[in-house]
């Protein structure tokens, strides 16, 4: 009887303990998966539109306090503006299930963002890249290969006494100089992407 009871408990425990399995995701060195999404104005934007260019992908959720901290500090906007002059494309993707084009358009206008926000309410592209956090950063080189995946910087709590290392800036500097990226993968931090159930 004890064995039977434990067996029932084991089945129940497995159901609770094993989360849904994520997509295969991507790794540094992989070809960046192709995608097409609509921007806040309803225009279709494809990764292939930027063939030959370095592309930064940023996962966004304006309700996440980590995102709010970086937007208050101008982290993303300053990076995008700085590297736009060096030919880098910045695409922000919002896979938050409850944020439609209008909500993203409002965020873009409120923050006077110079870059495109792509609306991914279905979460299809988020799962394709296995984006887990907001922010979660990806860099794709001119050949379409992923060269950085991870956190925006090394300061999850935003309270480091010494200056934070911005991994995206460091990676872009290296690839623009023709070098391999030294820190190509880091653990992302932030809120979980609020995917559609």
């Amino acid at each position: 009887m004890k064995y039977v009871m434990r067996t029932v408990m084991i089945v129940m425990a497995v159901i609770v303990a094993v989360p849904a399995i994520a997509g295969d995701g991507v790794s540094v060195g992989d070809a960046a998966p192709a995608f097409t999404l609509a921007d806040t104005a309803g225009n279709e934007v494809s990764l292939s539109d930027f063939e030959g260019k370095i592309v930064v992908l940023e996962w966004l959720n304006p309700d996440c306090p980590f995102v709010q901290r970086h937007y208050k500090a101008g982290t993303m906007k300053n990076l995008a503006t700085t590297y736009d002059g060096r030919g880098v494309v910045w695409l922000t993707i919002n896979s938050t299930n409850y944020m439609d084009a209008a909500a993203n358009a409002k965020f873009k206008a409120d923050n006077d963002l110079p870059y495109t926000i792509l609306v991914d309410q279905s979460g299809e592209v988020g799962h394709l890249y296995d984006a887990k956090t907001t922010p979660h950063m990806y860099i794709i080189d001119g050949k379409g290969t992923l060269i950085y995946i991870g956190a925006i910087d090394d300061d999850p709590r935003g309270n480091k006494s010494e200056p934070a290392v911005n991994y995206v800036a460091a990676s872009l500097d290296e690839v623009l100089a023709g070098s391999a990226v030294t820190t190509a993968e880091t653990k992302p931090y932030g809120c979980s992407v609020k995917y559609k159930k």
Binding site: A17, P19, C191, S192
Partner: protein, 277 residues
Amino acid sequence: MSLRSSILWAATIFLMGGMAPVAFAQEEPRVIARLVADTTAVESGSTFLLGVHFEIEDDWHIYWRNPGGAGLATAVDFELPDGLVAGPLQWPLPIAFVQSEGIPGYGYQGSVVLAAEVAVPSDFDGSRPGKVRVEASWLACKGVCVLGSAELEASVAELPEDPVFRQWAGQLAKSSGANDLPFSLSVTGGLADGAITQWLRWNEAPYPVEWFPDPSEALEAGDVRIQTRGGLTRIDAAVKSRKGASGSISELPSLFVITGDDGERRGWEQSVPLTDN
């Protein structure tokens, strides 16, 4: 929120005053943090437990030292009078939950105490005890997330003793050297395979088991699947290293937790080798 919880929250809000060893999160009171100890006053040449008791609003959670696929580990930092030394922060057994589709999370709901053992030197001057200060920070989530923090302090001569410590040690995992593991463990696979399988051969009828990986920043572990057949449990997990990240990739610290017939959870820390065999 239950009536009991509501009364507790209301009472705590009413009683809170000044910079007592109680503080709220900065925005919403999703979490109440209180400084707690297992004694009221320290003695020279002894040790005591000092920590933070987090009361978490119903259905919200805060995070374990490995938050899982997203989130942020709860932090507790101690500032102690000269001579007092805090050991490592000790973490009660976490629970597993799904943060969002495909994203596991590890943490705590309801309440938890994160504490450390503090050593008091034999020449500690009890007449000038000074103050202990603790800075706690956390991320609390329930669909949306809220960052919280608290700065807590108390006199060493009047520590806020909390009865929670009477059962607290039983909520901790046993260290890897414990000899009462109810199963023998073997591991196949490794980083080269991109996956490991842990085989748990039970000494008696198998228990429900959970596995909590606690990788370094240089490792990623996920897609955990647990299956039990007969007296054997297999735990499969995807593992990969992060290129250029710092930290050990030779082993994967982790926590095994079983639920006994009485419903009690017991845990053991085990480091899983990632040799490519």
